[in-house]
C-alpha cells in the first residue's frame, strides 16, 4: 500500500499516542479515543469506497449493529468487553456480506441511496424489539470502561486493523479491489470474480464499522440508544472518508480527526456560540474543505510531495 509512511514517522506517532494519556486531561483523552474510533470506521469505509468504488451512506447502520452487540452481550451475559468487540466484528462481517449481495445489482448512486435507506431503517429496529433491544431508553452495558481503557482499546484496535487492512490491500485481494474500482468490465475480463470481491469488500468494511460501533457505545458510557445512530452519523463517516482521500494514512487520520473533533469544537466557537455553533460551523467547514481539497487530505499530501520534488 502506497500509503504506508516511513517507519520513522510511524514510530513517532506511536510514541506520541502512548504518551498522550499521561499528558492530557481525562476529557481530552476521551476526545482522542473518539478520533481513534472514527479512524477505524473511516479506514473500513475507505476500503469499500476508495478501493472498490462502491459508495455506502449506510455504515452508521453497521456501527449500530456492532454497538448494540456489545451492549446486549454485556448487559445479559456480562461478556468481557473485548470479546464483545470480536463478536461485533464477526456479526457485522456477516451482515456486511448479506448487504453486499443485493448491492451487487446496484451501482453508483442507486447503491448510495439504497445504503442510505439502510442507515435510516436499522436504528428503527430497537423500537420494535424494545424488550430485547431497549427501545428508546437504550441498553446499558454491565461494565463501563475508563477513559484510558477506551483510549488504549481504540488505538490498539486501530493499529491492528490498520495492519490488517495493509495486509489485505497489498496482496491479491487488494489488487482485485483496485481492479474492480477502475473498471469492472476489465476486471471480469481478467478473471476477477466480481461478486466475491465486491461482497468481501462490503463485509470487511462493515466489520470495521462494527468494531467502531462497539467502541462508540463504550465511549458513550456503555449506553446504546437509537438517538446515537441517526442518519447524520452515516453522513459523517462519508465526510470523513472524503476528507481522508485515497491512499494516505495521514489522510485517514485527518479525516477521523475532522469528524471526531470538529463537531465538539464547533459547539464552543465564539460569536456564534454554543447555542448555534455546531451545525453552522461544522457544515461550513465541510463545504470549505471540499472546495479547497476535493481529493481529500491524501490529494493534498500527494500535491505537497510533488511540490517538494519527491
Amino acid at each position: 500500500m502506497r500509503y504506508l509512511p516511513a517507519l520513522g514517522s510511524l514510530v513517532a506517532v506511536g510514541a506520541v499516542l502512548a504518551a498522550l494519556p499521561f499528558l492530557l486531561s481525562a476529557y481530552h483523552v476521551a476526545l482522542a479515543a473518539q478520533v481513534g474510533i472514527f479512524f477505524i470506521a473511516v479506514l473500513g469505509l475507505n476500503i469499500l469506497t476508495g478501493y472498490t468504488g462502491q459508495i455506502s451512506i449506510g455504515h452508521g447502520a453497521f456501527m449500530a449493529i456492532g454497538g448494540y452487540t456489545t451492549a446486549v452481550l454485556s448487559r445479559d451475559h456480562h461478556t468481557n468487553l473485548v470479546l464483545t468487540m470480536i463478536a461485533a466484528f464477526a456479526i457485522c462481517l456477516v451482515f456486511g456480506v448479506l448487504v453486499g449481495l443485493p448491492a451487487l445489482r446496484l451501482s453508483g448512486v442507486y447503491l448510495a441511496l439504497a445504503t442510505f435507506a439502510l442507515a435510516i431503517s436499522v436504528p428503527q429496529l430497537p423500537l420494535k424489539w424494545s424488550k430485547f433491544l431497549g427501545g428508546r431508553d437504550g441498553v446499558q452495558t454491565a461494565t463501563t470502561p475508563s477513559h484510558v481503557w477506551l483510549y488504549a482499546a481504540a488505538w490498539t484496535a486501530s493499529a491492528i486493523l490498520f495492519v490488517l487492512a495493509w495486509l489485505i490491500l497489498r496482496g491479491r485481494v487488494g489488487r482485485a479491489f483496485r481492479a474492480v474500482r477502475d473498471s469492472e468490465i476489465a476486471a471480469v475480463a481478467s478473471g476477477v470474480e466480481l461478486p466475491l470481491y465486491k461482497t468481501l469488500a462490503f463485509g470487511i468494511s462493515a466489520a470495521y464499522a462494527g468494531i467502531a460501533g462497539s467502541l462508540f457505545v463504550l465511549a458513550t458510557n456503555g449506553f446504546a440508544a437509537p438517538d446515537e445512530f441517526g442518519v447524520v452519523l452515516s453522513l459523517e463517516l462519508l465526510i470523513g472518508a472524503a476528507v481522508a482521500g485515497l491512499g494516505s494514512l495521514w489522510g485517514i487520520l485527518a479525516g477521523a480527526a475532522f469528524i471526531g473533533l470538529l463537531p465538539t469544537v464547533s459547539s464552543s466557537v465564539p460569536v456564534i456560540g454554543s447555542a448555534h455553533g455546531q451545525d453552522v460551523v461544522f457544515g461550513a467547514a465541510v463545504v470549505l474543505v471540499m472546495l479547497l481539497i476535493p481529493d481529500g487530505f491524501a490529494g493534498l499530501v500527494a500535491r505537497v510531495r510533488r511540490l517538494a520534488g519527491a
Binding site: 506520541v16 486531561s25 437504550g138 446499558q140 463501563t144 465511549a219 438517538d227 465538539t264 447555542a275
Partner: protein, 421 residues
C-alpha cells in the same frame, strides 16, 4: 534540509507536550469543585440545535433567572454561572459534553439537563463521581424510582427529577375519564417509543380493571407525516372510541387535533401536558382544529390566564430584562419559559438551604429535604417536596380545559390532585 525539518518537528512536539502538561496542571482544583468565594459554576446539556431545539427556551429562561439572582447579589455573595452545552438530544454527544462540564469546567453540579436517553447515558458516570445531576427536564419515572432501588447497575441517589412524572399524569387522566364516563371507549394515539409507551402504561394502570375499555391504541413514529397521523385518528374513530387520548410530542399533537376536527369527530379529548403549551394549541386552532373542551393538566402558573399573580409579573420583568428575545413567546403563553424560571427558583432555593459552606453533599441534602411552598412560578397552592420516602419532587397536577376557540386559552378547574403515586 531534512535535518532541519526533523529538528523543527521535534521542537514542535516538545512545545505541544509542554503546553498540554501546563494545561493539565492548571486545571487542578482544591475544595468543592465549581465553588469559589464569589462563584458557583453549574452546567447542563440541552438540545440547542437539531430536531428538539424547540426546547431551548428552557435553559434560556433558567439563565435569565440566575442573572436576576446574580443582580441581587447572588447566593451568599456567590454569582451563579450556568454553562449550557448543546447535545442535540444525542446521547453520544451528551456524554462528551457532560465530561467537558465535569472535567474542563469543573462544575459544582449538573442542573436541568434535558431528555431521558441523554440522562440515562450519563447517570452512571455522574453518580459514580458523586456529582449532583438534578432537576432534570424529563418526566420519566426513573429519577424517582431509582434512588433507593438499583437500576442499570446501582442506585442513583445523585440524580433528581423535578416535574410530575408521565405515568402519574396518565393515571390522573384515567381517573378523570372514568369519572366523566364510566363506560368510556378509549382510543389512544401514542408515540412509538419509551415516552409514549410510559404514558400508555400509566393510563392502563390508572384504569385498573377498566383497562379493557381501551378499544384501540395506535402508535406513530416521530417524523410521520400529518397524513399518516390522520390515518391513525381515523382508525381510532373506526374502532368506536368516544374518548381520545393523545400521548404525543408537540408536532404530532397539533396534527392529531387538526385531524380530529377535519374528520368531524368530537370525542372527549385529553392531551399530555408536554404538548399543552398554549403556543402549540393556538397553532392547531389556526390550522382549523376545534379545541374547545379538550383537557390537559398543568403544574406551572400561566402568564396569560393568571397575569396578576406576583410570580407572573416577576416572570415578565425578569424575561424582559434578562432574555428579551423571549418576551413575545412569554406574552403568548409559552409555558416552557415559566418552567425554566420555576426550575431556576427551586435550584436557588436549595442553594440557600445548603448554606454558606457549600458542598455537593450539602446540595443533595437540601434537594432531598425540600418543602418549597413559595415558588412563584408553579401553580399557586402546589408544593415542591422531597423526603426520604418522597423521591418525586412534584406530585400534583391541576386539570385544565380549553375554551375560547382560536384565541382562547387553558382554564383550570376542579381541585389540585395530589399524590400521583
Amino acid at each position: 534540509m531534512a535535518v532541519n525539518r526533523r529538528k523543527l518537528g521535534a521542537l514542535l512536539c516538545a512545545l505541544l507536550i509542554t503546553a498540554a502538561v501546563a494545561g493539565a496542571a492548571a486545571a487542578s482544583h482544591t475544595g468543592t469543585p465549581g465553588v469559589t468565594s464569589n462563584k458557583i459554576v453549574i452546567g447542563g446539556t440541552f438540545p440547542l440545535t437539531g430536531p428538539a431545539s424547540l426546547y431551548k427556551t428552557i435553559p434560556a429562561a433558567e439563565q435569565a433567572y440566575y442573572a436576576y439572582v446574580n443582580a441581587k447579589g447572588g447566593v451568599f455573595h456567590r454569582k451563579i454561572v450556568d454553562n449550557v452545552l448543546d447535545d442535540q438530544y444525542d446521547p453520544s454527544q451528551t456524554v462528551p459534553q457532560t465530561q467537558k462540564l465535569v472535567e474542563q469546567d469543573h462544575v459544582f453540579a449538573v442542573v436541568g439537563s434535558l431528555g431521558t436517553a441523554p440522562i440515562l447515558s450519563t447517570w452512571n458516570y455522574l453518580n459514580k463521581l458523586k456529582i449532583p445531576q438534578v432537576l432534570v427536564a424529563t418526566g420519566d419515572a426513573f429519577w424517582g424510582n431509582c434512588v433507593h432501588h438499583a437500576c442499570q447497575g446501582g442506585t442513583k441517589p445523585w440524580t433528581l427529577g423535578w416535574q410530575p412524572d408521565y405515568p402519574g399524569e396518565a393515571k390522573l387522566y384515567a381517573k378523570y375519564i372514568l369519572q366523566k364516563n364510566k363506560n368510556a371507549k378509549i382510543g389512544v394515539i401514542y408515540q412509538n417509543d419509551a415516552y409514549g409507551k410510559n404514558y400508555l402504561a400509566g393510563l392502563k394502570t390508572g384504569l385498573g380493571s377498566s383497562a379493557n375499555q381501551i378499544v384501540d391504541a395506535e402508535s406513530y413514529n416521530l417524523g410521520d407525516s400529518a397524513q399518516v397521523i390522520a390515518a391513525h385518528v381515523v382508525a381510532l374513530r373506526a374502532h368506536g372510541a368516544d374518548t381520545f387520548v393523545i400521548f404525543a410530542t408537540p408536532t404530532a399533537t397539533i396534527q392529531s387535533l387538526v385531524a380530529r376536527t377535519l374528520i368531524g369527530w368530537s370525542p372527549l379529548t385529553l392531551v399530555n401536558n408536554v404538548s399543552a403549551n398554549r403556543v402549540f394549541e393556538l397553532l392547531a386552532a389556526q390550522n382549523g382544529a376545534n379545541l374547545d373542551g379538550i383537557i390537559s393538566t398543568v403544574y406551572t402558573a400561566s402568564s396569560t390566564t393568571q397575569p396578576n399573580l406576583p410570580g407572573m409579573k416577576l416572570a415578565t420583568s425578569i424575561i424582559h430584562k434578562y432574555a428579551p428575545s423571549l418576551d413575545q413567546s412569554l406574552a403568548q403563553g409559552d409555558g416552557n419559559i415559566i418552567y425554566g424560571l420555576a426550575v431556576g427558583w427551586t435550584f436557588v432555593d436549595a442553594l440557600q438551604h445548603a448554606g454558606k459552606n457549600l458542598t455537593r453533599a450539602g446540595l443533595m441534602q437540601a434537594l432531598r429535604n425540600m418543602k418549597e411552598t413559595k415558588n412563584p412560578f408553579i401553580y399557586p397552592g402546589m408544593t415542591v417536596e422531597t423526603s426520604k420516602k418522597r423521591t418525586f419532587p412534584m406530585e400534583q397536577l391541576k386539570l385544565i380545559k380549553w375554551s375560547g376557540g382560536k384565541t382562547g386559552d387553558w382554564h383550570a378547574f376542579g381541585k389540585i390532585f395530589s399524590g400521583l403515586h
